[in-house]
């Protein structure tokens, strides 16, 4: 006898198997459906493969032991990602509703799970589309030669460059000053940056047009947004491998350090990455799967999706690190050449006496004979390892490291256009799932009159989101974005994912769920799925959540700012958040997580009181 919580009236709320068969035969036109299976798979692949695969996974891979990181990643992919994926896909296909509808059908007390998913999808959509806006800005600016971030602007008397640019670098200056006009702190919001505003307008309009009729438009758009990144990655791989230094980057990425496997943070980061990479708990997957035919083989789909996501992560990491290796080698060579020049000038030696090959020997010789002169020359140490590991995560990777690498490639505008189109496609395909996870629950809630077509609902959502996104168009926008990224897209997802698993396994009933899958696919799910659904996956998610909360609570909340006047310039300075930020953090992370128990509690109190 399995542990199932009492759930009266469940049979009345969900369609029976016979109803599903009948609906399938009648092909009821009131619910949209996929044109073909390929559209569904491409949409899900596009949803799962996002910007995080390009700029989060490679960094995690390299910093947690290189090739050895693949071991915890693949293990957790199979034990945590795949079961949750099948759970969401199957429940959507079975109950044929969006995220709010599904949880409400399972139990009216669980509507909070759907609301939480919707809130998280909405907040993530806000900052994700701002990233898309920045990518669009760079994309628009890539159609010129030389690229605008190749050179610093000149100062007034044209003898040198602007000091802010001189001290940091051209790409840093272009990102933080020209694009964002970053202020010194999150509290410092002075006006709006109009280039960002019009890029936000462009971004939200593109999203609106792609999602305007739900999957009938977004399903066509994914043919491009899901396939193009693979093609561009292939082009970059070929280009990257022919560049000098690419192999050192790939070696750096994959050199295994088996000792890292002993470190619990490695496993935690792997688990968190698998969770976020799959787009679980956003509600988009449930929605997409509800448009599938009833007898679609969802087990096979979840396996295919997991394999594709895992392979794409490794593929993107290889491409990323080949380019990073190239840039690091270029910078290293420049550094060595600078030092050689300084030595030649300082000691008045003929030009060819010191080359890159005998640099170390020559430096050693000169240092032993004239240590004071050498010290006075202020030779910088050129560290290849440091160059390989700097700025390789998040926005820093795309807008600083990669843009710099592209300026050093011949034919830079073409590469820049390709790169930013790829990022645009990656981001847009994830956003389709997000918007689906926001608009469909709004529809389920009947907040808007039923007569209103889907177009108006999508348009209104996009418009309201655009207005709220103007928060990110301020000079302090980047700090708000990092805040959203850290808090809106982390704890709430883990909490909702946990509640989802508990809901399906213990409230809906694992026996009933098995029967449903047997009805849909033809075979009861194997013992692997049983064990992972009932024990392993919830446990893994719970452990990650607890560890995350504990580590967050222990450290003081700091953030990195771009401050010209600080000592660590050009490196970002770490300063503490102002105290009112805690209220914002509660809004971002606390509200979606707590809405689940709060809704259940409110319903318990109010409904039981009145009826």
């Amino acid at each position: 006898m399995r542990l199932v919580l009492p759930n009266p009236g469940l049979d009345l709320r969900i369609p029976r198997h016979e109803d599903l068969e009948r609906m399938e035969k009648q092909e009821a036109a009131d619910r949209p459906k996929w044109d073909n299976k390929a559209q569904y798979i491409l949409t899900c692949v596009g949803f799962c493969i996002g910007l995080g695969n390009v700029w989060r996974f490679p960094y995690l891979c390299q910093s947690h032991g290189g090739g050895a990181f693949l071991i915890p990643y693949l293990i957790l992919l199979v034990l945590e990602g795949m079961p949750l994926l099948l759970l969401e896909i199957a429940i959507g296909q079975r109950l044929r509703k969006g995220s709010v509808g599904v949880w409400r059908a399972i139990s009216p007390y669980l509507t909070g799970v759907g609301i939480g998913s919707m809130l998280v999808s909405f907040m993530v959509a806000l900052y994700y589309n701002t990233l898309i806006a920045w990518i669009m800005w760079y994309f628009f600016n890539s159609f010129q030669d030389p690229l605008p971030w190749t050179n610093c602007p000149l100062n007034e008397n044209r003898t040198g460059f602007i000091p802010e640019c001189q001290q940091s670098s051209t790409v840093d200056y272009y990102f933080y000053r020209v694009t964002l006009n970053a202020s010194n702190s999150i509290a410092d919001s002075g006006g709006l940056q109009w280039p960002i505003i019009i890029c936000l307008l462009a971004a939200w309009t593109v999203v609106c047009i792609c999602c305007i009729r739900g999957i009938s438009t977004s399903g066509k758009a994914v043919y491009i947004t899901a396939i193009l990144p693979y093609i561009v990655l292939a082009i970059f791989l070929i280009r990257g491998l022919t560049l000098k230094g690419a192999l050192s980057g790939i070696k750096f990425l994959f050199t295994p350090d088996v000792e890292e496997l002993m470190n619990p943070t490695t496993w935690l980061d792997a688990g968190a990455q698998v969770f976020y990479a799959f787009g679980l708990a956003w509600g988009g997957l449930i929605s997409f799967s509800s448009y599938n035919p009833v007898h679609n083989n969802c087990v096979q789909d979840s396996v295919i999706l997991s394999v594709v996501t895992g392979l794409t992560s490794v593929y993107a990491a290889t491409v990323t690190y080949s380019i990073i290796g190239f840039r690091a080698t270029e910078k290293y060579d420049t550094c060595i050449n600078e030092n050689i020049r300084t030595l030649l000038n300082g000691f008045e030696l003929p030009e060819d006496s010191i080359t890159a090959s005998n640099y170390n020997a020559a430096l050693h010789h000169l240092n032993s004979s004239n240590p004071d002169t050498v010290f006075g020359l202020d030779i910088k140490t050129c560290d290849m390892q440091k160059l390989l590991s700097e700025g390789v995560e998040g926005t820093g990777l795309a807008f600083i490291v990669f843009t710099e690498a592209i300026t050093k490639m011949p034919g830079s505008p073409a590469w820049s256009v390709l790169f930013f189109i790829m990022l645009l496609c990656l981001g847009l395909s994830t956003l389709f799932g997000n918007i689906e996870g926001v608009v469909v629950p709004l529809k389920d809630f009947n907040l808007f009159p039923q007569k209103w077509p889907h177009e108006i609902l999508t348009g209104a959502t996009c418009f309201v989101s655009f207005i709220i996104c103007l928060l990110f168009a301020q000079p302090s926008g980047i700090y708000w974005l990092t805040l959203f990224d850290n808090f809106a897209g982390s704890v709430p997802l883990l909490t909702i994912g946990l509640f989802e698993m508990i809901a399906v396994v213990y409230i809906y009933g694992i026996d009933r769920f098995n029967e449903d899958i047997k009805f849909m696919v033809g075979r009861k799910p194997s013992i692997f799925w049983q064990i992972t659904w009932r024990f392993i996956s919830p446990l893994i998610v719970l452990v990650i959540l607890v560890f995350y909360l504990v580590t967050q609570a222990q450290k003081q909340l700091n953030y990195l700012v771009w401050d010209i006047n600080s000592e660590t310039f050009p490196a970002l300075t770490s300063i503490p958040y102002p105290s009112w930020i805690y209220a914002v953090i509660f809004l971002l992370a606390g509200v979606p997580s707590l809405v689940v128990p709060m809704y259940a509690l409110c319903r318990l109190i109010f409904v039981s009181r009145c009826c």
Partner: protein, 216 residues
Amino acid sequence: MLEKILLLLSLSLSVAEGLCKPGVGEAYKVRFSIKTALGDQAYPWNKNEMFLFRAALAFAMRDFTNGEEFGVSDIHPCNETQRVSFWFVVTRPKTMDLVDKGTVEMAIKKSRNRINGAFLLTDKTLEFDGIYPTLAAPVSPDTPPWLIVFGVVMGAVSVGIIALLVYPLVQRKLKKNMDADDEDSDEETGVKTAENGANDGIYNSTFSDDERFTQM
């Protein structure tokens, strides 16, 4: 007579050598990086190249002072190193007065390109210590190119939105015109009942409500 000339020559030489002292007074340091600039096609540094330098600098002084007859002998180099760097001072023609640093600097700045060109070098490979090259201003087009691309994208998207919104309205209008003949719809229902056989009619899912309970 010969001795007097020799005496004068040696005097002037010694005075000149005394004039050119590295690091002090009106002396400038110049540095050549020929191998860096030209690689395999680098020419060796020798006395002829030094002569060319003195001639080029004399030209620069003449050009700046508008005709004052500077000659090769008015440029005095010293402390030549293997790096190919040396100091030099400029003296006025006829007299041995040193030309001040400011004038020399402005003369070099004016004719920098010509001096560079004479040696097939650039501002970076022919350096005058203390004289910063005036950098060329970047070319900025009238319309920033990004605005053009933005306009194209927004135009395409707006056209797309309008098309998507107008298309179903147009289709509905066409359908209304076609629905004037009722024969088509009758035939369809007829076929459907024949297919369904045992079932009575079409199951109309509107009548099965999904939410049996009153919602909160």
